[in-house]
């Protein structure tokens, strides 16, 4: 593999020193490192050695030196059993000793059932979950028994029987915001109720949250934000009272996720800005967001960290069982050798990322170890940087997290004229890749620019070069420009400077010419932001360009908030008459404009800033005469997810404004589509799409 032939690998060259075996650790030398990962017996021995290391001397001795735990230890040490399930199923919890105690008590209570691998993997997943510091050890048995008994009774979704231990960690960890919840909350009583009252095909759990009504106040008028919302209904099982009494995003998302988990399907809850959502795993790698309104997600349960990228990446890595296991064994070798033979440890680390180049956790561990213990030269860091980037470029956020470990400490050693190219290498590597999801690109740019030492001119130069590099990217250009606007265009002078830099960057990258207006320069960037659903970038870029109010008469607003304000407008085509910088204003009270090209069934799709129950929609246009006939027959549809649409309005009458009352007819809407519904090939334009209602988040 090419990854082996570079400078940092030389730095990590193996020692020929053979080590004597110590406790559980198998003998190791340069020759045996690679063989161990391919030999089941040696892999198993390394798993035991890693457990010893993780437990520490005292706990290890308590477990392994006979006495009352001897029988369990003999069982644990058997190949293809509990040890392998615990050790090859993602990172260990933060209290491995507790994990082992939980596993031991489950085995002592139910060794017979655990002879069946389906129960064994459940027990391992429970031990891994309850091994986390805040999870109560004495409640683990109840969780195990719930899944064991429900499975045996045929009450779980058949998917459960196909899951490996690491996948079951996303099932058995039913919780409140990632922490254990007792029977007053999302505990076993709720799980049983949800198992028996919310049994659905896997895909339907993404909508299960809506079985509970969204209510800010309960029937007594008490707010969800106070202590009395659920208190009067304390005799009810929590899941049941959420369905009967109601809740807001947090309760509803927990209801949906817990319903899935209680039926044996992996799911998680997650935080979003001002919101709580959830995701259901419909199959391998198929994590499906539910009630999600933003890509800015912080997962409440995860094996690898809190980002969506990490969730997707760990799913891919752990599913590649052979590569993942080999990578694990090499990581354990490296950890056991770090103190006594760093060179040999480096070799093992190298093998870990060769075995599974997508193992971000391994890259992170190596980077931290090198930074703290090896202190390589800038050239060696650069080589490591290039290899990590090459391995993880399809997951830009994951790649950046690795680079961010060491770049800030390395940068002062890099010659001044090489710093920007060093930072740009990241952009070069990812420009042609979409990544699994949008992420906080602006934060990464902040971290990068901080490394340049605070010189304003250098920062602007960096911005210009990033723009030039990302101009070919459909995904990253918009957040780059939005970041530049936030950072540099804080006042009129800064805005002018920012625009000039932006224009030069776009021109250098093969985009528009410098002579064009700001609106024209930004047009393709705004359209790209709309195409990729990046609401933040769409709004920021529109603000950068500035808007001219359309002054279109719309009449009285409908009740509630203007849910479209701050959202995103995507049109079916643009045209030479279109000005994308005015698109965002179409959704505001001021009005703006959009103008498609000639086409059959042209349309505009609004992604609302807030999911809502609609009270009405106002459409308005300044067109008159013949031009107004281009807008009819006008059809308006609404959708919760932007996929399945329901028609709510149709008219042949041109001119507008069209006022569409929707009270009681559109209970959950995230998207509104406005289209001309005929077979003419003709342009389509409008000035206002104002959507009103009650927010559901």
């Amino acid at each position: 593999m090419e990854i082996m032939k570079t400078t940092w690998m030389l730095l990590l060259a193996p020692s020929l020193l053979a080590l004597a075996p110590a406790t559980a650790r198998p003998p190791v030398d340069a020759g045996s490192l690679a063989k161990a990962a391919d030999d089941p017996a040696a892999s198993h021995a390394w798993a035991l050695a890693e457990l010893e290391r993780a437990l520490g001397d005292k706990e290890w001795k308590s477990l392994s030196t006979g006495g009352p735990r001897a029988a369990f230890f003999r069982e644990l040490a058997k190949p293809d059993g509990l040890l392998d399930e615990l050790m090859f199923s993602g990172p260990l919890p933060d209290d491995p000793a507790k994990m082992i105690r939980v596993a031991e008590s489950l085995w002592k209570a139910d060794a017979r059932s655990m002879a069946d691998r389906r129960e064994l993997t459940t027990a391992a997943a429970v031990a891994l979950t309850f091994g986390d510091g805040k999870w109560p050890e004495d409640q683990a048995a109840a969780r195990y028994e719930y899944y064991r008994d429900s499975r045996k009774a045929g009450q779980l979704h058949p998917m459960f029987d196909t899951l490996e231990t690491w996948e079951k960690r996303y099932v058995v960890s039913v919780s409140s915001n990632g922490g254990w919840a007792g029977d007053d909350g999302w505990g076993e009583r709720s799980m049983e109720w949800l198992r028996d009252h919310v049994k659905l095909p896997a895909a339907d759990y993404t909508k299960a949250c809506w079985q509970a009504p969204y209510r800010l106040n309960n029937v007594f008028g008490d707010s969800i934000h106070g202590k009395n919302y659920y208190a009067p209904f304390k005799e009810m099982i929590h899941a049941e009272r959420v369905r009967e009494v109601g809740g807001v995003c947090g309760s509803l998302s927990h209801y949906g996720a817990t319903a899935a988990r209680s039926n044996g399907i992996p799911a998680i809850t997650m935080g979003e800005p001002g919101h709580c959502a959830y995701a259901v795993r419909l199959g391998p790698g198929e994590w499906t967001p539910a009630y999600s309104l933003s890509w800015k997600r912080g997962l409440h349960t995860s094996l690898w960290g809190r980002t969506w990228t990490q969730l997707v990446l760990q799913d891919k890595v752990l599913a590649e069982k052979y590569a993942s296991h080999r990578s694990d064994v090499h990581l354990w070798q490296a950890r056991s050798l770090r103190d006594e033979d760093p060179d040999l440890a480096a070799s093992a680390y190298r093998m870990a990322v060769e075995a599974q180049p997508l193992n971000q956790q391994a890259w992170l561990e190596i980077a931290r170890w090198m930074k703290e213990r090896r202190q390589p030269s800038p050239a060696d860091w650069k080589a490591f940087h290039d290899q990590a980037l090459a391995a993880l470029a399809d997951y830009p956020e994951a790649a950046w997290e690795v680079l961010a470990v060491f770049q800030p400490s390395v940068m002062p050693q890099v010659p001044a004229d090489e710093r920007i190219p060093f930072l740009l290498a990241f952009h070069d590597a990812i420009a042609a890749r979409k990544g699994p999801v949008m992420w906080d690109f602006g934060k990464a740019l902040d971290e990068q620019v901080k490394m340049l030492g605070g010189d304003h001119a250098t920062e602007l130069e960096f911005f210009e070069q990033v723009v030039a590099m990302q101009v070919r990217s459909e995904t990253w250009l918009a957040p780059v420009v939005a970041w530049g606007r936030e950072r540099f265009a804080k006042d009129p002078a800064g805005a002018t400077e920012c625009f000039n830099v932006l224009a030069r960057g776009l021109a250098a990258g093969g985009g528009s010419s410098q002579a064009e207006s700001l609106g024209k320069v930004l047009a393709p960037v705004i359209l790209a932001a709309a195409d990729t659903g990046n609401v933040d970038a769409f709004q920021a870029l529109s603000k950068l360009a500035g808007t001219t109010p359309a002054k279109v008469p719309t009449g009285e607003p409908f009740p509630g908030e203007l849910l479209s304000a701050g959202g995103l407008l995507k049109i079916s085509t643009t045209s030479r008459w279109d000005d994308p910088s005015q698109h965002a204003a179409v959704l505001e009270a001021s009005g703006g404009r959009f103008h498609t090209d000639k086409e059959v069934k042209p349309h505009a799709v609004v992604r609302l800033a807030k999911l809502g129950e609609l009270s009405g929609i106002v459409l308005a246009s300044t067109a008159s005469g013949y031009n107004s006939t281009r807008e009819v027959p006008l059809k308006v549809s609404v959708s919760e997810d932007g996929q399945q649409w329901t028609e709510v309005f149709r008219t042949e009458k041109p001119g507008g404004p069209w006022r569409i009352p929707l009270e009681g007819k559109a209970p959950r809407v995230g998207y509104v589509k406005v289209e001309r519904d005929d077979d003419r090939s003709e342009v389509f334009h409008m000035n206002a799409i104002q959507v009103y209602g009650r927010r559901l988040q």
Partner: protein, 293 residues
């Protein structure tokens, strides 16, 4: 065998129920023949509890037991349908009602309006055998129609009362998607002054009354809100749970109204008394404890 015969006798039918391939076909048959439609919702490739019911549903004796006045249709919500099954599933989207938990059973009348529904195994089992539950629903529908036929021969509040009693029998409100709203319109027409009380019962706003009370309280229009609630509470035809909701709206209002804050406990006591065993009744009792009573 004895069970089969007894089922047939129970149903009063000598002929077996027809089966339809999908909901639209069942509706066509039902419209033509005036039958009811019995629906089983199940998922044959993922829902094990549902397969116990589905196995029973497929049996000949079930078909015979249900009798010729019922059309049977099984809506199989498979996770991995083949092409033909996917096409059937698409046609079954015409069924106006889904379930919150599988398996489920439901009865629709010949016009495709829901009469009764049970969702999830625990609800189904609580009703006894599914066939018995469906036959009871058929009986409810027959009694409902008998009331509505009598209503057609009456006029004024008497007709409204019969129409309302027919709605009461199903305990579905105005049904999913307000499918029984035309019945309410007929009640209104026959009884514009609502002497029967059924207009009030079937237009009671529920939680919206609480929301309205809070909104008016926020605008300091306490008296307006109190009048609105009092107007509802003056209607004797409200069901106990509706009366409780109106009282909970009053509680929410008084809690925000300094002049009446002293009355909140008496409102809660009245609410509890209306139906102490209901969830709202228990909630009121708990609230009283929280308030130190």
């Amino acid at each position: 065998m004895i069970r089969t015969i007894s089922l047939m006798l129970l149903s009063g039918s000598l002929f077996a129920a027809e089966r339809a391939a999908d909901f639209p076909a069942a509706l066509d048959k039902a419209k033509a023949g005036g039958q009811d439609i019995a629906v089983l919702y199940h998922g044959s490739d993922w829902c094990a509890p549902g397969e116990k019911v589905a196995a029973m549903w497929r049996r000949d004796d079930f078909e015979k037991g249900m009798g010729k006045d019922v059309v049977l249709v099984a809506i199989d919500r498979k996770e991995r349908p083949d092409e033909a099954e996917a096409a059937t599933a698409k046609r079954n989207e015409a069924c106006p009602v889904g379930v919150r938990s599988y398996p489920g059973i439901a009865l629709f009348d010949a016009e495709g309006r829901l009469v009764a529904k049970r969702e999830g195994m625990s609800e189904i089992e609580s009703m006894g055998a599914p066939g018995q539950a469906l036959l009871r629903a058929v009986e409810v529908r027959r009694k409902r129609d008998a009331l509505w036929q009598r209503a057609a021969k009456e006029s004024g509040p008497a007709a409204a009362r019969l129409l309302g009693k027919g709605l009461d029998m199903m305990n579905l409100g105005l049904g999913p998607k307000d499918v029984y709203k035309p019945v309410l319109e007929r009640i209104r027409k026959e009884d514009p002054e609502d002497r029967s009380g059924y207009v009030a019962r079937y237009t009671f706003p529920g939680m919206k009354l609480v929301e309205s009370a809070m909104k008016l309280a926020g605008e300091q229009k306490f008296e307006d809100a109190d009048k609105e609630i009092a107007a509802w509470l003056s209607k004797r035809s409200l069901l106990p749970d509706q009366r409780q909701q109106a009282l909970s709206a009053r509680f929410a209002l008084y809690n925000r109204w300094d002049a009446r804050k002293g009355d909140v406990k008496s409102v809660l006591r009245e609410l509890e008394k209306a139906d102490p065993e209901s969830e709202l009744g228990k909630g009121a009792a708990e609230y009283l404890k929280m308030l130190g009573s």
